[in-house]
Amino acid sequence: MQRLKEIFTDRQMYRAVLGMLAFVTVWYLLTAVFNLPRFRQIPNPLAVLKEWVSFEPVSGRSLFTGEYYLDIAYSVGRTLIAFSLATVLGVSLGLIMGWNRMFFDFTFPIVEILRPMPPLSWIPLAVLILPGVEIAVIYVTFIAAFFATILNTLLGVFSIDRNYFLAAKCLGSKPKDIFLNVVVPGSLPFIFTGLQIAMGVSWMSLVAGEIISGQRGLGYAIYEGYSLFQYDQVIIYMFTLGILGYISSAGIRAVGRRLMSWEARRRGA
């Protein structure tokens, strides 16, 4: 059994590596070998890698410079603040909306109008209303994640089987107990789906926000690289974003699995 599992994971690993190699090869062929007209200015993967690990990078940013980590720290900090706010506010609001019919009637129409607004459309108002560009960028990062969390939490509450409420009621639960023992755990699977989506849109809106009105951070550095013709830097930062996004997603999944061991077991783990 253990061996079988090993072979399986090995094969999976092998395919993953093969897929990535294919991707890099195509990139290499397009840029370094065929040198197609539209790809003339795009650095090839080797050049990007060299710049990434260089001690004296042309752009002043590589794995061995403080600048690089400062940019990461700025972006991660903004995302974390925005995402945490979105989680706390979105989950609480979503739970209350799902729980209280009257509150739902009052708030749902507003949520449904505000939710589809692209985060970037908030930039002018955010800059006008909020003190400082920094907070405006965080707000833009927050807003889409916030609505994604509300909506999924709400769906989570609605997804709970009616029988669970009836059962809790006839076992003598007070509304407070039903909320804590049925509504909250029952909506967790949807909440975590929501948080995954929220994390994704956070990074997206963050980069856009940083490009337009930020100072420092990954998005800002990408735009800077573009204006200064340092395309190595653009690609390095794109990959950095990809890796950070992956890590944060995996983190949420890990926390989710922790909190929902009962769900994992259902899948036969």
């Binding site: 089987d161 029988n163 669970y164 009836l166 059962a167 809790a168 009621k169 006839c170 076992l171 003598g172 639960s173 007070k174 107990d177 023992n181 049925v182 755990p185 029952g186 967790l188 929902m260 061991s261 009962w262 769900e263 077991r265 259902r266």
Partner: protein
């Protein structure tokens, strides 16, 4: 199964009785008024196992909801020991059709849910839980989650969750539905044993004639739309009940009687186009012998 008629030991007065008096329940759907129950009267006797049967759509689940207090009748009253029902209460516990164990809690947490909701001390809760978990044979599984249990174990956990609160009345809405035939029969034996030991007031709804007669002290058959009581049959099979009784002459006699009554209602439901009635018809035809049925139909 506990031996010489354990029912006599318990003081029956601590259990409740249900009186449904002239209850009518109407629903308004898309402007159309549908009468589900009409002038329905029913007596669930103290310390007895009353089984309710009827074709699908005759309002069995509605009747349960009314007794449980989840819904209110359009007219008439439901009394528990002379007190009118105004809402759900933990003197009446419902075991649902589909399992309603909380999937996010272990068996232990599920079973002790009622105790915690009522603020019973941790020590006493633990004591009661151990007793009841051993009784339903789930003590070794107390730390598992419901989805890790088999269907039969889930139903036993649910019975335990209801019984730990010592309700005056237990209401079971087709609790063994969806179990395979073997497990179902085992659960029937297990359940009837529990009942004979404790002797609580039980109100049990089912589709299965054999199950109904095997379990019941009293069998109540409902009419199809609008639902009311068509007939009540006292089941005088001796207790403790045993699977072998399924083949006894008296059992067959009662069964024939019940099937005749049910068949009329099922046929009504069938011609009214009720989807599930078709299944009941099929089952009854099989049980009664096909030729016999076709003659009756005219």
């Amino acid at each position: 199964m506990s031996g010489n008629n354990g029912r006599g030991i318990t003081n029956r007065d601590i259990f409740g009785e249900v009186r449904v008096e002239g209850v009518t329940k109407k629903y308004e759907k898309e402007g159309q008024c549908q009468t589900v129950l009409e002038e329905c009267s029913l007596h669930v006797q103290r310390g007895k196992l009353t089984v309710l049967m009827g074709p699908s759509g005759c309002g069995k689940t509605v009747l349960i909801n009314l007794i449980a207090g989840y819904e209110k009748p359009t007219a008439g009253r439901v009394y528990i020991d002379d007190t009118p029902v105004t809402g759900p209460g933990r003197d009446r516990l419902v075991v649902f059709q589909e399992t309603a164990l909380f999937p996010w809690m272990t068996v232990y947490s599920n079973v002790t849910f009622g105790c915690r909701a009522q603020g019973i001390s941790r020590g006493e809760t633990k004591e009661r839980a151990e007793l009841i978990l051993k009784k339903v044979g789930l003590y070794e599984f107390r730390d598992k989650y419901p989805t890790q249990l088999s269907g039969g174990m889930q139903r036993r956990a649910e019975l335990a969750r209801a019984m730990i609160n010592d309700p005056k009345i237990m209401i079971l809405d087709e609790p063994f539905r969806g179990l395979d035939a073997m497990t179902r029969q085992l659960m029937q034996g297990f359940y009837v044993g529990l009942f004979e030991e404790i002797g609580r007031t039980n109100f049990f709804v089912t589709h299965e004639v054999d199950e109904a007669i095997f379990l019941a002290d009293r069998l109540v058959i409902m009419t199809f739309q609008p639902g009311k009581v068509k007939a009540e049959i006292d089941i005088d099979l001796p207790r403790p009940r045993d699977v072998r009784m399924l083949a006894s002459a008296r059992f067959m006699e009662i069964r024939g009687q019940a099937i005749d009554l049910l068949y009329e209602e099922a046929a009504k439901a069938f011609s009214a186009g009720s989807k599930t009635a078709y299944d009941l018809m099929g089952a009854l035809v099989a049980q009664k012998g096909a030729c016999n049925c076709l003659d009756d139909k005219k």
